[in-house]
């Protein structure tokens, strides 16, 4: 790819193709569940790993901040709010951007440079319907689910840390967590993560399908997919904070 003009042409064509592909259910339906498993379920360990440590660090940091003036049970409040509103969706998104973005870009990039994408086209199968749509849908559906799990794990690990390493009882922690709880906290996080999933998968597919020039080109596409995926998450995060909060 070179220059903004070519990028615009490619993106414009992409939108047209994406709409047409979505209508072509029979082609992508069979791919959806395998992709949900590959991009979502298989990402659970990474997400849980990130969430456990996020919970621990949040609990420790907030107890350090809340000396004297603020009662210690606010540790629960901060852990809950931070995990649900921000760190759950964003850190999970980042972790998955690495995994999902790289996976998608490398796979589609390899298919592109080995002419498998061309072969699909000659069979009158749209690469958008067969490859892109199921991946984007799967990521859009699975990011929120993995994020929901990560939120739960982050809360639990924060709770566990508070009870075992800080002078806090379960009752106090939960009181803090409930204090300013708002149902919006959860769905705000989940809506965000759905948009992250869509962006990460779309960027991965876009970079992959536009890869050029052998193994090196695939490597470049993969790197770019991950970097752009992470940037997109940060930009979207700010966008949603502006729009929804």
């Amino acid at each position: 790819m070179s220059g903004p003009r070519e990028f615009l042409t490619l993106s414009g064509r992409w939108v047209v193709e994406a709409r047409r592909a979505l209508a072509d259910g029979p082609t992508w339906r069979g791919q959806l569940f395998p992709q949900m498993k590959k991009l979502g379920v298989d990402s659970v360990p990474v997400a849980v790993f990130v969430a456990v440590f996020t919970g621990i660090v949040l609990a420790l940091l907030s107890s350090y901040m809340f000396t004297r003036a603020i009662p210690l049970y606010f540790v629960g409040t901060l852990v809950a709010k931070a995990v649900m509103l921000e760190l759950g969706p964003v850190l999970t998104g980042m972790a998955l951007a690495g995994r999902v973005g790289a996976n998608v870009a490398a796979e589609l990039g390899t298919m592109r440079v080995t002419e498998q994408v061309d072969a699909l086209e000659t069979l009158a199968i749209s690469p958008h319907a067969y490859l892109v749509t199921p991946r984007v849908l799967a990521a859009t559906l699975m990011f929120p689910m993995v994020t929901a799990l990560a939120m739960a794990v982050g809360l639990l690990s924060g709770w566990f840390t508070a009870v075992n390493l800080l002078d806090l009882t379960s009752v106090e922690f939960l009181r803090g967590a409930r204090q300013f709880y708002n149902f919006k906290d959860i769905w705000f996080g989940l809506v965000k993560s759905a948009s992250f999933g869509m962006a990460v998968a779309t960027l991965g597919c876009f970079q992959g399908l536009n890869a050029r020039g052998g193994a090196e080109g695939v490597g470049r596409a993969t790197t770019r997919a991950v970097v752009l995926g992470c940037q997109a998450i940060l930009v979207l995060d700010a966008f949603w904070a502006l729009v929804l909060l």
Binding site: R20, T27, E107, M111, T114, E115, Q116, D118, A119, L120, E121, T122, L123, A124, I125
Partner: protein, 245 residues
């Protein structure tokens, strides 16, 4: 009938096709020969709309390929089988699935798909390989699976990109025989790109020689055999005496 009318194509500064005109008559086998890197594969890709000409037109059944809308292009691709130079098998699918994908797309029921897959693999002398993955096959076997994938569709047109390169003499003979039978028994119109001069004379009704972006000579097999064009003589004789092409 496939017809190239003054087709020009360049990649960046590199002019590959420069006003190329060629007619591939109905029901015949036309062989396209030429030195490496002269644009033979590029020619084939224009026929199914994988590449678009910068100038000129490619016609299939009197339809201009690069002016077709999406639906019409899909229909056109449904009539054309494409054998890729490097097979371009879907490496995440088994051999059987590779063949079945296009058949299902054309609406065959599962029983008919299985029968057609078996039949096509028999034709390329690879019976019983349905459940193997492309990575487990030799280069020559992959190539033959690629041929099977194209002929399984029973298309009216088949484009072969170097179908016999890298195959042993016995398999080469079998593939030549397959191409001859496709023409004789099914009336398939073929455009065959090959370096293999023996194979070309065995299967061709007409031969065209691509040089510097245009067809330098085209004619019946007998005419090409008797040509006085020094460049073409060198190509043919060099190949027949076993020197490098």
């Amino acid at each position: 009938m496939i017809e190239f009318r003054g087709v020009s194509k360049r990649f960046g500064e590199k002019v590959v096709l420069d006003g190329l005109s060629l007619v591939v008559p109905e029901g015949q086998t036309t062989v396209l020969m030429g030195y490496s890197g002269t644009g033979k594969s590029v020619c084939l890709k224009h026929v199914v709309g994988l590449l678009e000409p910068d100038a000129g037109q490619v016609l299939v059944d009197d339809e201009v390929v690069n002016e077709l809308d999406y639906e019409a292009l899909m229909q056109l691709r449904g009539r054309i089988g494409y054998v890729f130079q490097f097979a371009a098998l879907f490496d995440s699918l088994t051999v059987g699935e590779n063949l079945a994908l296009g058949l299902r797309r054309r609406g065959l029921d599962p029983g008919a798909v299985t029968a057609r897959v078996t039949e096509s693999l028999d034709l390329v002398e690879l019976p019983g390989t349905e459940s193997r993955y492309p990575a487990e096959l030799s280069g020559g076997m992959r190539k033959r699976v690629g041929i099977a994938r194209a002929i399984a569709l029973k298309p009216r047109y088949i484009l072969y990109d170097e179908p016999t390169t890298g195959l042993d003499p016995v398999t080469t003979a079998a593939i030549n025989d397959l191409m001859i039978r496709a023409r004789r028994e099914l009336g398939v119109t073929s455009l065959v790109v090959t370096h293999d001069v023996r194979s070309a004379f065995a299967v061709a009704d007409r031969i065209a020689f691509l040089h510097e972006g245009r067809i330098r000579r085209a004619g019946t097999t007998a005419e090409i055999r008797a040509t006085d064009d020094p460049l073409l003589r060198e190509f043919i004789e060099g190949a027949l005496t076993g020197e490098a092409v």
